[in-house]
Symmetry: C2
């Protein structure tokens, strides 16, 4: 028997070519009865689909994935809004994956996303990630990856970040200008690029302004962090300023101060990286370093779609810095 074409299948079944094609592609637009009929004849006549053409990878999934550590953080929620705006303009779906800052989970997700499930990746790496071999798999599969916010230095691609070092320096300077003599820095993770840079800015500002430096290592657990902050404030009564590297550490500090009856800002002043919409509604309003979350998400997505359009991946490191803004509120007021 010669080589059977879709056209011949269609003719024998008295169906249109497009119906047969969609039935072979298992399209939901075709009834199960029709699909079964087409499949049965295809098997009977030994119909050979073009394996290349039917390869999942040769088809665009029209989907991008956003891999982020968490969503209880407003930064990521806002960044996703920026990403979705651009994805929608390009007719793409957005999948969101949460790593919960767990390297093993992140690596498993990368494996899962290979093989044509998505055309491109926007990624903010897990705090635990310093081995990037799993991310390198995307490049091997010709899937472009764009980093935003939490980046890996040793993976070459385009990276959209804010000015974490300068903002860390400015936040510390702000606390000193409001009278703080002994400022503690609350760190989330040593492996996190943004944390490292914010900390470096803090350390350099402390050095320049002749203030002692205290790095307090916190964890992913709110309960543990509240204990760590309580212990710190009980151990050193001269601490009069807190620089929280991420929003949730500022919230934990507020909780602890409420419990210990420590008055903010009279006894302790607080500044935090945060995109909390209701920072101004807190008691007292929280002084924040606002990251351009929406803009970072948007610009990262624009870069990704440029790569998808040109069918390329990123092979060189390039860092694009979008500055943050310090918004002073009552938590650092002189009272």
């Amino acid at each position: 028997m010669g080589h059977i074409t879709i056209k011949e299948l269609a003719s024998r079944l008295n169906l249109s070519i497009s119906t047969v094609s969609r039935a072979l592609g298992d399209s939901h637009e075709i009834s199960k009865a029709t699909r079964d009929k087409v499949m049965a004849l295809a098997q009977e006549l030994n119909y050979t689909p073009n394996l290349y053409a039917s390869s999942l990878r040769s088809q665009k999934s029209k989907t991008i994935a956003v891999i982020i550590p968490e969503i209880l953080n407003n930064f990521f929620a806002l960044a996703i809004d920026g990403i979705e705006e651009i994805a929608q303009q390009n007719g793409y779906h957005v999948l969101i994956y949460l790593t919960h800052d767990d390297h093993a989970k992140e690596a498993a997700m990368v494996q899962h996303l290979l093989n044509g499930r998505v055309d491109g990746i926007l990624m903010s790496v897990a705090a635990e990630t310093n081995d990037t071999s799993h991310i390198a798999e995307f490049a091997k599969h010709n899937i472009p990856v764009v980093f935003f916010d939490r980046v890996c230095d040793n993976f070459k691609t385009i990276k959209f970040v804010t000015d974490d070092y300068q903002s860390g320096f400015n936040a510390t300077k702000h606390l000193v200008s409001r009278g703080c003599k002994n400022i503690a820095y609350l760190s989330l993770s040593k492996n996190l690029s943004i944390d490292q840079k914010r900390k470096d800015g803090y350390l350099d500002a402390c050095k320049k302004l002749n203030r002692p430096a205290h790095i307090i290592d916190c964890t992913q657990s709110d309960a543990e962090n509240e204990q760590i902050i309580t212990d710190m404030l009980n151990a050193d009564k001269t601490i009069d300023g807190i620089f929280a590297s991420v929003e949730k550490l500022a919230i934990s500090t507020y909780e602890v101060c409420n419990r210990l009856n420590i008055e903010i800002p009279q006894q302790l002043k607080i500044v935090s990286f945060s995109n909390l919409r209701i920072a101004s509604l807190l008691k007292p309003g929280l002084t924040t370093i606002n990251q351009p979350a929406f803009e970072i998400g948007k610009q990262a997505a624009v870069a990704l779609f440029r790569a998808l359009k040109n069918n390329t991946i990123f092979t060189k490191s390039e860092e694009i810095v979008i500055p943050s803004t310090l918004i002073a509120r009552d938590s650092t007021a002189i009272k």
Copy 2:
């Protein structure tokens, strides 16, 4: 030429059967060079894969999708935590899709998820959705769907909800017990099941307790809502209580009160459905109806995995109610 088997391909290429099988399946574990070699010989020898066996739908994707309206709402962030706990126990990945309460977007996503991309669906429907024909597609494709929180009455499946009617009644009664004489209900959408039930509880409580009822229709836009609330408070100076059906309407009310110098709770008392972690840190602390978000997500996921294990879908309506809790804070205090 006779019917070529995978075994014959493997023998001719001097490769193992499993390598050829994975190469034909376009597995990332096989190098591109090997895949190309296998594909070329398969084409040359007119190899016919078993179309049924290679159908995507016959394979488990080991993935479930969670379709939700938004993530800036803490309810959904917490529900996802509950879902992920169960998914992880079952070795499944979780994809998150955001509809932004847009029916057309939700329908497009449903189309996208058919054909084996996911094995099951957990869904909280968009506020705009009253036509459920798109959701019915899942049943046609044998993909089980579990609803949680925002459900459709006219789609038959298992539904995990909280006691919205009773909580709406209790919230209104609470405001009356704190002295409110004229309470407004801020509604997000007429098409939203939870909003409808909360409103019914409010209306029945107003009737029973001899208070006038005011339904204020709000929108998805924070800016518009702040204008609507401002206009309402300017138009009727006797309004002394607000019942916000969702968290973001309470936040907008706080913003408006700050701007208009209206004192909470002295001039206006507020209660809201909310799972905001920092409700107690607001100025003043917000009285909330806390939904068992984590538990709802967890139990909904358990039901979905039971269906996946039994290879069934849900065909009957069943509603499982997990009660909410009113937590009184300063926003409804008598002062």
